[in-house]
């Protein structure tokens, strides 16, 4: 027999208690790692630009410079691109008037809903808009403020392009961060400008957050060294709202994780100290035989360390296995995309387990160190 062998034998003394303790630690560690993964999923996207599925592509030289319409099929072929739509700011005003405070944009109505999924328009109004080349939909705020009505005609003179458009209101939308815009057909603008063949920006929807992060450089590369180089960016406004929205949840998850760790520490500490209390007499006999105080303390530390180590291996390992084997993305209906257990999380869990092992053995070790042999022999006598 060796000292480590002796320790293992001691650890397996009460198999049911060992199993339950390890299970308890494992479940908590599993929870901890899962919370870390969730936290990462929530916070990482806004930091790396992957949160937004929406990407804008603009002329690299200046925002005012338009892009050629022939870029469309090239962008559509880039992997990870789900939809591409032109978007051109019309900068319109009513005749002779000051520029309007509510903007008008020319877009492709057939792709509009794919890219601005949050915008809500009654189905029949949306269909009417798609069908009628000279129709438009208006944001609820502007519609109310200007006391507009369905069927009303609006004539805008562009402050940017040498043309005007006459639009018919066929619908009212809401649900965007800015419900003031007039959306109309890009095809109509093309026509008004005499087969213009250009667009202001391209707006893209990526298939998922992961590809969204990868698409931007691909798009820029596709038009590098052409006469129309582009800059592709994910949508900032969306990101900002995302960050502020998750701030509270971050705090909540941090709090829950702390609570999990604290309760785990309390339970483990009481388990360890109970199992040591039961063995006071034995430990006293070991002391009498000649084992040093520091050796006995090391035994206790090793035992509680081993307990935590087993727990973290099963718990964090289980979380890792789950992230590897289960299709979290479809299980959560796309709420969690990558659900990755990083080495850093495993490290954090291991560190937490190490701290647990040390902290839960401090008091039992101290009481054993302080115990005199005679005092220890008296227990159970």
């Amino acid at each position: 027999m060796t000292i480590p062998g002796f320790l293992v034998r001691n650890a397996f003394r009460n198999k049911r208690r060992l199993l339950l303790s390890v299970l308890g630690i494992a479940v908590s560690m599993f929870l901890l790692v899962t919370l870390m993964v969730v936290l990462r999923e929530l916070t990482q996207p806004p930091n790396d630009g992957g949160s937004s599925l929406r990407i804008t592509v603009r002329n690299k030289l200046s925002l005012a410079n338009p892009l050629p319409a022939r870029q469309l099929p090239i962008i559509e072929k880039i992997p990870g691109v789900e939809a591409v739509m032109p978007l051109t700011w019309f900068g319109g005003k009513f005749k002779e008037d000051e520029p309007l405070m509510w903007p008008q944009f020319a877009v492709d109505p057939r792709k509009f809903r794919k890219i601005f999924g949050e915008i809500r328009v009654p189905e029949d109004q949306y269909e009417a808009w798609v069908k009628d080349r000279t129709s438009c939909i208006v944001g609820r705020d502007t519609f109310k403020e200007q006391k507009m009505h369905i069927g009303q005609k609006l004539t805008f003179l562009s402050g940017i392009y040498p043309c005007s458009v006459e639009l018919t209101i066929v619908g009212v939308y809401e649900g965007s961060i800015d419900d003031r815009v007039v959306w109309f057909h890009h095809a109509y603008l093309d026509e008004a400008l005499g087969d213009w063949g250009k667009v202001g920006d391209w707006w893209i929807k990526a298939t998922n957050t992961e590809t969204a992060a990868q698409i931007c450089p691909l798009i820029e590369a596709a038009f590098a060294n052409t006469s129309d180089e582009v800059r592709a960016e994910s949508e900032r406004a969306f990101q900002l709202s995302f960050v502020s929205m998750w701030g509270g949840i971050k705090l909540l998850i941090g709090g829950v994780s702390t609570a999990v760790l604290v309760s785990l520490l309390l339970v483990t500490a009481s388990t360890v100290s109970m199992s040591i209390r039961e063995r006071f007499r034995e430990l006293a006999i070991l002391k009498a035989i000649g084992f040093q105080r520091r050796e006995l303390c090391a035994f206790i530390l090793a035992e509680s360390f081993g307990l935590s180590a087993l727990g973290v291996v099963f718990g964090a390992g289980g979380a890792w296995l789950m992230s590897r084997t289960m299709d979290i993305k479809s299980l959560t209906h796309g709420a969690f995309v990558s659900f990755e257990v990083t080495p850093q999380m495993l490290g954090t869990a291991a560190l937490a387990a190490a701290a647990l092992g040390i902290l839960s053995s401090v008091f039992p070790a101290m009481s054993v160190a302080r115990m005199s042999v005679v005092e220890g022999l008296r227990t159970l006598d």
């Binding site: 002796f6 034998r9 003394r13 009498a288 035989i289 040093q292 042999v373 022999l377 006598d381």
Partner: protein, 226 residues
Amino acid sequence: MPPIVTIRSLSKVYRQGEMEIAALDNVSLDIAQGEFLSLMGPSGSGKSTLLHIIAGIDRPTSGECRVGGVGVTELDDSQLADWRNQNVGFVFQSFNLIPVLTAYENVELPLLLMDLNGTRRKELVHTALELVGLADRARHLPKQMSGGQEQRVAIARAIVTDPKLVVADEPTGNLDSASAEAVLEILRTLSSKAGKTVIMVTHDPRAASFGSKTIHLEKGRLLDVA
């Protein structure tokens, strides 16, 4: 030959609030090498206390205790632990053995603290188990043995490091007379054949009669030296 244990004016006082209890009151005693000393006396007379101080697991309030020329009372805790490992074998009344270890492993335990290789350890454990007549029970766990066998394993563990001194606190207290006799016989052999000094606390005059000498304690004082 000089005595192996020399005790001079040894006192142990427990303070409980205002009260002072003298567990040992000015005890002086010599114990010769190879002696099998029986320590008798009523409950609470200080037998265990005296035994504990001689064995280096308790400290006196005042007085001196030398074992084999070493001033046991002057060693610090860590030195004392090493000294016990090499010089004293312990047998207690009950629950002596580590329940998760086999007889063999229990006997091997004190050897783990010594600088010995596996082969040498094996030899020593086997010799000790043979001496108590339990070589065939080496693989048994304590709960698979009778009380008498357990006590004999405890004796094997006490002598495996070849200490000068074996102390036993009521080693037959929980045993039937046949088992007790076997244990006492082994202790007697240790002193008469192996030259070990054995100090045994007992309530039982018949057990005491196995010893080469009996002393009596009462209220912490030594009575006659028979």
